[in-house]
């Protein structure tokens, strides 16, 4: 009976199994990237880049319809272009990086919606904006899993410089010449994970599986390796709960997944080790030394 509730949707329906596999891969790859995005105070940058992917995917759609390869390529090119252009503008003008990113992503978003609506239907637009986690085909799953594997490999290789780049960039530059490589490799990881996430959750919510678990885990963990572990755990749990909720209550899947992780965030915010209630409770007592 209980088993039916928790497992039957996945044992009976292959589209639910595919959705679950896609979400597991996203949680394993995109969430650790999201942790670094948060620690580099780039959470909103990630959000802006997610929006910037839309026109690229839309141009791919324009040429090839709902083709996985064309939309992926378009999304990666557009995401990288906006990331690099925003960095260039902030280095060479008075405009800060956040403002220049906002400018680029607003232009991109408007352009993307325009392109899709001139050639496609509203359903196509919804597809791009909110993803199709219940309609992932084999190619899409292989793509998402491939991106997750590559992300873990790159993160493992560049872990130490990446931590230092967040913590104390001047020290990294003083001991190593890896700083520019680390920065650009990381931006690339952000873009390809957003594109991977976009097939499942759409451009608007692909950032959700990156930032929300990271932010929630920050209330539990005091060092970065624990932080990454907890964030991945929360992402897996949230994805599973979201899929179940969406199946049983017949609600949009992408929103259910992001909302489930969001619920875990609120719980962590309240009762996590560094959460609001815990800190309040702790402030009423202290150790002897």
């Amino acid at each position: 009976m209980i088993g039916d509730f928790f497992f039957a949707p996945f044992s009976e329906f292959s589209f639910m199994r595919r959705a679950l596999v896609g979400c597991l891969a996203l949680s394993l790859g995109a969430t650790p990237v999201g942790v670094f995005l948060m620690l580099r105070r780039m959470s909103l940058t990630g959000d802006a880049m997610a929006h910037a992917i839309l026109p690229g995917a839309a141009i791919g759609f324009l040429f090839a319809g709902l083709s996985l390869q064309a939309m992926t390529l378009g999304g990666v090119v557009a995401g990288m272009a906006v990331a690099l252009a925003a960095g260039f503008v902030s280095r060479s003008t008075v405009l800060r990086e956040d403002a220049s990113l906002a400018a680029f992503y607003l232009i991109s978003l408007a352009l993307g919606v325009l392109i899709v609506s001139t050639r496609g239907s509203n359903i196509d637009l919804m597809h791009l904006l909110f993803g199709t986690v219940l309609a992932l085909n084999n190619d899409a799953i292989v793509l998402i899993a491939g991106i997750a594997s590559l992300s873990l490999l790159v993160l493992a290789t560049l872990y130490r410089p990446l931590v230092l780049e967040c913590l104390e960039p001047a020290f990294l530059r003083s001991v190593s010449s890896l700083s520019p490589l680390t920065h650009h490799a990381f931006l690339t990881l952000v873009v390809i994970n957003l594109v991977g996430g976009f097939h499942a959750l759409g451009t608007l919510m692909s950032i959700g599986v990156m930032i929300l678990p990271a932010a929630a885990a920050r209330f539990w963990a005091r060092d970065i390796s624990t932080l990454i572990g907890i964030a991945v755990g929360l992402a897996l749990l949230g994805s599973y709960a979201g899929l179940l909720l969406s199946f049983h209550a017949d609600l949009p899947t992408g929103s259910c997944i992001v909302l489930s992780i969001g619920a875990l965030y609120v719980v962590s915010l309240l009762i996590g080790r560094e959460g609001v209630l815990t800190n309040w409770y702790r402030s009423t007592r202290h150790l002897e030394a």
């Binding site: 967040c166 960039p169 001047a170 060092d223 970065i224």
Partner: protein, 251 residues
């Protein structure tokens, strides 16, 4: 003639083509413990940035003898560190071993032992597992000294390392500096406390945009030199006043 570690050859360093260090000519012997002393705005920090390779010379050059740029350990006055970052004191200090570990290497037992020893040497033996956000300013400075210690650097640059620490911390850190000196490392430290300089630093470079004196501390810091250092910055101030007058006339 001493073995030379660092040579400043007609060195001019500055910002937006305004010189902060002007035509400096000096040779730092290997293994010397040198205090860099001078009024505010004398170019002391600028000189260290130049040696660390953060600031390129406007003219002249800095010659490093038998030491690569990346081997120099530089501790800036204000460390640009995200102190809310979730990392333990032990992990922060252990990146001092970067040259041995590189990007991928993990710490073996002997290296962990050395990190613990470095923490103990600055009086932070029981702080390894704390997160860096829980450290006070003085404790963080101790941790950064422990990290410099692990870098095993032939040349060490310290920018006002004792300015915002209490007497006890200063005592501990001066002990670490003396040990570096005993190990034949070349140490350049910007300091403001003249008594500390007299007590602990055999050599002093008195800087006031231009070189005023470099040699044994007692000679460098004699009253006539200190007076000259003050006059040079006063001259510098007058110049600044002239520029302001000019600007207000124009306006």
């Amino acid at each position: 003639m001493h073995d030379v570690a660092l040579e400043f050859v007609d060195l001019t360093l500055g910002y937006e083509s305004h010189p902060a260090v002007h035509h400096l000519q000096a040779s730092i012997p290997r293994g010397a413990l040198v205090a860099i002393v001078g009024p505010n705005g004398a170019g002391k920090s600028t000189l260290l940035k130049g040696v660390a390779g953060i600031l390129a010379p406007l003219a002249g050059e800095i010659r490093l003898q038998g030491c690569a740029r990346k081997e120099i350990a530089y501790l800036p006055q204000i460390v640009d560190m995200d102190r809310s970052f979730p990392i333990s004191v032990f992990d922060l200090v252990s990146v001092g071993l970067w040259r041995e570990l590189g990007t991928l290497g993990g710490l073996n037992r002997q290296q962990r032992q050395r990190v613990s020893e470095a923490l103990a040497a600055v009086g932070l033996a029981s702080f390894g597992r704390r997160s860096i956000g829980s450290l006070s300013g003085g404790q963080l400075q101790r941790a950064l000294f422990a990290r410099v210690r692990l870098r095993d650097a032939p040349v060490i640059l310290l920018d006002e390392p004792l300015t915002s620490v209490d007497v006890e911390t200063a005592h501990t850190l001066l002990g670490v500096i003396r040990q570096w000196h005993a190990e034949q490392r070349t140490v350049l430290a910007v300091l403001h406390d003249i008594d500390q300089v007299h007590q602990h630093f055999p050599h002093t470079l008195l800087l006031s945009r231009e070189l005023v004196a470099f040699g044994p501390t007692r000679e460098s810091l004699q009253p006539s030199n200190l007076l000259r250092a003050r006059q040079l910055t006063e001259a510098f101030d007058e110049h600044a006043h002239a520029c302001q007058r000019h600007a207000s006339e124009a306006a």
